[in-house]
Amino acid sequence: MNAPLTSPTRRMFLATGGALVVSFALRPTASYAQGAKPPQPKLPGSLGKAPYLDAWIGIGGDGTVTVFTGKAELGQGIKTALLQCAAEELDVDLKTVTIVTADTERTVNEGYTAGSHSMQDSGTAILNAAAQVRGILIELAATRLNLPAEQLQARTGAVIANDGRSVAYKDLVTGEALHRVASAQSPLKNVKDFKIIGTPMHRVDIPGKVTGAPMYVQDMRPEGMLHARVVRPPNYGAELVAVDIASVEKLPGVIKVVRDGSFLAVAAQGEFQAIEAMNMLASIAQWRKVAQLPDQGTIHQFLTRLPSQDQVIANKGDPSQQGAHLLRASYTRPYLSHGSIGPSCALALMKGDKLTVWTHSQGVYPLRNSLADMLHMKPEQVHCIQVEGSGCYGHNAADDAAADAALIARAVPGRPIRVQWMREQEHGWEPFGSAMISNVSGAIDDQGRIVAWNYEVWSNTHSTRPGGPAGNLLAAQYLAQPFQPPEPKEIPMPEGGGDRNAIPIYTIPNERVVDHFIPQMPLRVSALRALGAYLNIFAIESFMDELAEAAKADPVDFRLKHLDDPRARDVVTKAAREFGWNKDKLPRGQGRGFAFARYKNLAAYCAIAVEVSVERETGVVRLGRVVAAVDSGQAVNPDGIRNQIEGAIVQSASWTLYEAVTFDRNEVTSVDWSRYPILRFPQAPESIAVHVIDRPGEKFLGTGEAGQGPAAAAIANAIADATGARLRDLPLSADRIKQAIGV
């Protein structure tokens, strides 16, 4: 998925005419320059990873269709969207299709369900595989009915001939009929004929979720299951010196206390018994604390002084131009928590030399490799099955819970072990979204056009996901023979990590963008929804407003002036129009703000307009109307898209207005909701309207993370409009706003 940093170029540039046009390779392929042979025609989406059609589609003897995806349902509605793709192209009733999600013994390896790639990768693969399967079924029917294929049509689970004869799919598919390699071309339906794709079908998982069906890994109750809890160290790097295990093993219900170095856990018959035993262990364990954390108040200066790997990721013309006005600004964000409502959970069962793990990890295959490494097993001996957890929004503690369960399962073989993280553990130990700082300078000419742009961003890594070696699994770092976390590496462009969306999408003749990747991590960090794009878009879109003000231009007009991509322009004008964007003066304390971005400059387009009112005495922000426009290419499920953007807006509003991980010199201190408050119902916006611009036939564009950045900037811009105060340091808390407003 990510090009190794050893490849000579991270990007390919094409110069056309006088302007530098940048072209992106979506997935790294060997370049001609290196003397590789010309690539085979590329198979669509993830078919390139698993070209056999029956890896994706299966038709059962009873006519049910099974779709296999290497992606995972995270609550983003992907199961439903993929089912729609399959049902449409196969031409079957949606009710007859089921889907199997990421499972190392049943599905393709599609890496992580992350980066808003699911529709692009898996959706594209399934769409094309289903169309090709339909083609095969027609072929088979042609042979069976002794008719040319042109006289046959696939409809609702059967192939029907013009003369009225028909054969059901299930009667056509025998043996290895679908065990065929996919072709690069698919007989895709005409988008005008879509009946399922493009309609807001109800999600297949919601009925179970509202009626108490066992939908989550937390709901699993296999026979013989034991409840387990882990005792985490008091802070990063602490070493377990002594603990009287025997006294805790005497407690009611306790089956075993597991200790491996500084990894300490307990398995018990009952859940409450496990919790009590955990508390007891925690109170008697003696630790040697070592960690020293930096001062929270000066964390950004601290980070920028650490050694960094610097890369110029955009360089065009002469960015030192000063134009008629030159502006500078600096933007920051704190560490942010995923804040999953359900703390992480996993089940593991060690039977003989085979380990099975049920986990809500975003990547079962990479996890399998890491677990195998940790336990000195072969990957084939480890079976990871993705089961839904609560929303993860990136790399939370899901993989760590799996590792905990695996270690305890090894110590208590033959019994399924259920590990449930506590709230304080999830808040204290999950990998956060990195603190970041960016500096920007921009010059406009006397025509109000941006002529030069300089942007530099500093960040820790945005990925410490388990993948190969075990060192990224939390428990593995605390074993008697600990695994060291591997050296983090920046995610290469065009995806990027801290530099995701650091390159402005606007047409600017002279620009320079630099990514400062800081490998040393004082706090544990990894991928949080949108990665660097949240801060970068917040910064860029806030700064665009600051430039617009210097140019005495309307913020929406100013953006349109610098946007050439017609789809980008459509999304901007749609959001502005639906919002009723105008220049009328608002009552005192009220303001409006606008922002736009294309996620990764590659995926979905999203523009957001928001109205706020700011209480002058307190700095409290009330979110009024929010209007968004989004272009995700071919919209498979428009309601799914709306749901994701609404959710992104509310979540981003919470990050933007309230959130910051807190820590003192010893430990993370924001260990529960009292100390890491997030948005509650009374603070939700007055209304959110999301307008989906459907592009039938266009590629699927990842949408799950497209709203985070624009929402933040739109709010910041609205606050500036309402109060005259421009805030650049996230979160835009009431105290900070009040301080900026003054008395």
């Binding site: 509605g77 998982d205 509202v210 804040g339 359900g342 509310v650 909701w673 009374p682």
Partner: protein, 163 residues
């Protein structure tokens, strides 16, 4: 031995009387809806009804619950016959990951039993103890409004459910 009345049925539960109701519901009675979110009474994922009151089952010991009327989402209906609150949440597609939703539904049920036509502001205030991290608040608000209508107006025509 504690006798608990859950969703109209009596259950003899052999658990430590200090055990919070949440673990008894999930483990002893195999009821999945109420969820563990924090164990501290801060997030509401565990919300159930006790004597018509919304309650954090993670901090309510079963010792306090003998003879009282306990209700969970499972009492509101089933996939074949969803109750009005469940129907409203399905019709509004008011879920993303869905983990917080059972707690939301029980708190909404409690509100609607006391106030048949709450305003937006009243719903927001009533639902404030329950957290949703996915950002589904707007749909949940719509679902509660819809549930209020469904509870007071019996619809004769079954609504078409797509998909």
């Amino acid at each position: 031995m504690t006798v608990l009345n859950v969703n109209g049925k009596q259950h003899e539960v052999d658990a430590d009387p200090r055990t919070p109701l949440l673990y008894v519901l999930r483990n002893d009675l195999a009821l999945n809806a109420a969820k563990f979110g924090c164990g501290l009474g801060q997030c509401g994922a565990c919300t159930v009804l006790v004597d018509h009151n919304p309650v954090f089952s993670c901090v309510t010991p079963i010792a306090a619950l003998e003879g009282r009327y306990i209700r969970t989402v499972e009492d509101l209906g089933s996939t074949d016959k969803p109750g009005p609150v469940q129907r409203a949440f399905i019709e509004e597609q008011a879920a993303q990951c869905g983990y917080c939703i059972p707690g939301m539904m029980m708190r909404a049920q409690a509100l609607l039993e006391k106030n048949a036509a709450p305003s937006d502001a009243q719903i927001r205030e009533a639902m404030a103890p329950n957290l949703c991290r996915c950002g589904t608040q707007m749909r949940i608000l719509r679902a509660v409004h819809r549930a209020a209508k469904l509870m007071t107006v019996e619809l004769n025509e079954p609504r078409e459910v797509k998909g």
